[in-house]
C-alpha cells in the first residue's frame, strides 16, 4: 500500500497522498526523485472501502479542502498540488 522511494536526501520525512491517474501527482513524484529526496506515497484510488475512508480522513485532517497530491512534510507542513518551489523552500 505505502510505497517507499529511496533518495540521498533523507533529512525530512516526506509523505504524499496521490492518485495513480493524476498528472500533477506524477510530476511531484518525479520532482522529488530528481532532487534525490527520500519519500513515501500512497495511491488513494487503489485502496478500497474502509481502508480508503481511513486515508481520506487523514487527508481531511491536514488538507480540509481536499485535492491531490497532498504532501505532508515532517508530519506538520502540508503542501497541496504540484508546488516545486514551495517544497524546495521547506526542504532547504
Amino acid at each position: 500500500m505505502i510505497k517507499h522511494v529511496e533518495g540521498s536526501n533523507d533529512k525530512h520525512s516526506v509523505f504524499l497522498y496521490t492518485l495513480s491517474t493524476c498528472v500533477w501527482c506524477k510530476k511531484t513524484k518525479q520532482f522529488l526523485l530528481d532532487m534525490g529526496i527520500k519519500y513515501s506515497y500512497i495511491d488513494v484510488d487503489l485502496l478500497e472501502g474502509a481502508q480508503q475512508n481511513k486515508v481520506m480522513s487523514e487527508i481531511s485532517a491536514v488538507n480540509p479542502q481536499g485535492g491531490f497530491p497532498t504532501i505532508l512534510i515532517d508530519k506538520v507542513k502540508t503542501v497541496v498540488g504540484y508546488q516545486p518551489e514551495a517544497i524546495k523552500e521547506i526542504l532547504q
Binding site: 491517474t21 493524476c22 498528472v23 481520506m56 479542502q65 481536499g66 485535492g67 497541496v80 498540488g81 504540484y82
Partner: protein, 158 residues
C-alpha cells in the same frame, strides 16, 4: 462515449469538444497523453471517464460532476486559464504559450470527502446557460462574464 476505447480516440473526442466550446487541449503532448491514460483507466474501472486528478467513488450519481469535462472546468478556465488537471486551457494560454501550474481545487470539500460520509445528496447548483447570440452552452453556477465563443456579454445568457 460508449465507442471510445483508446487514448487516441478519446483525444479526438475531447479536442473536438474543447474547440467547439472555444477552449484548447494543453500543448504539452506528453502531459495530455498521461491524462488520457488516466481517463481511460477511469473509464475502464468506473464505466465513465471521470477526472483523473480527483478521487471517484465509483457511484455515478456522486461522481457525475467529475465526468470530463467536469462541471468546474469552465469556471476554472475563466479564473485561472486552465482546468484543474490542466487538460483544457484557454485560448489565451494556448496561443501565447503561457506556463500553467497547479491551481486550487474548486470542487466543494463536502464532495471531495463524500467518500467518507454517508453519501449526502449529490445535487449541484450548476445549470446550463445558453448564449442568445451564438448558442454557446455554458455549464456553471452563474453565467460567464462574457461568452467564451463569441464574446457576447453576460446579459445575453439565459
Amino acid at each position: 462515449m460508449e465507442n471510445i476505447k483508446s487514448p487516441q480516440e478519446l483525444r479526438v473526442f475531447l479536442e473536438t469538444n474543447a474547440k467547439d466550446k472555444g477552449y484548447y487541449l494543453n500543448q504539452d503532448t506528453s502531459f495530455v497523453n498521461a491524462l488520457l491514460e488516466g481517463l481511460i483507466r477511469n473509464l475502464n474501472r468506473y464505466g465513465y471517464s471521470s477526472c483523473p486528478c480527483r478521487l471517484s467513488t465509483g457511484d455515478y450519481a456522486l461522481d457525475s460532476d467529475l465526468i470530463c469535462p467536469c462541471r468546474y472546468m469552465e469556471n476554472d478556465i475563466q479564473k485561472y486559464g486552465s482546468c484543474f488537471c490542466a487538460l483544457y486551457v484557454s485560448k489565451d494560454v494556448y496561443e501565447n504559450k503561457k506556463t500553467i501550474s497547479s491551481i486550487p481545487e474548486s470542487r466543494p470539500k463536502e464532495k471531495n470527502f463524500d467518500v467518507n460520509y454517508s453519501h449526502v445528496s449529490s445535487k449541484t447548483n450548476a445549470k446550463e446557460w445558453k448564449c442568445a447570440v451564438c448558442g454557446y452552452k455554458y455549464l456553471g453556477d452563474n453565467p460567464p462574464e462574457k461568452c467564451p465563443k463569441c464574446g457576447a456579454s453576460r446579459k445575453f445568457f439565459k
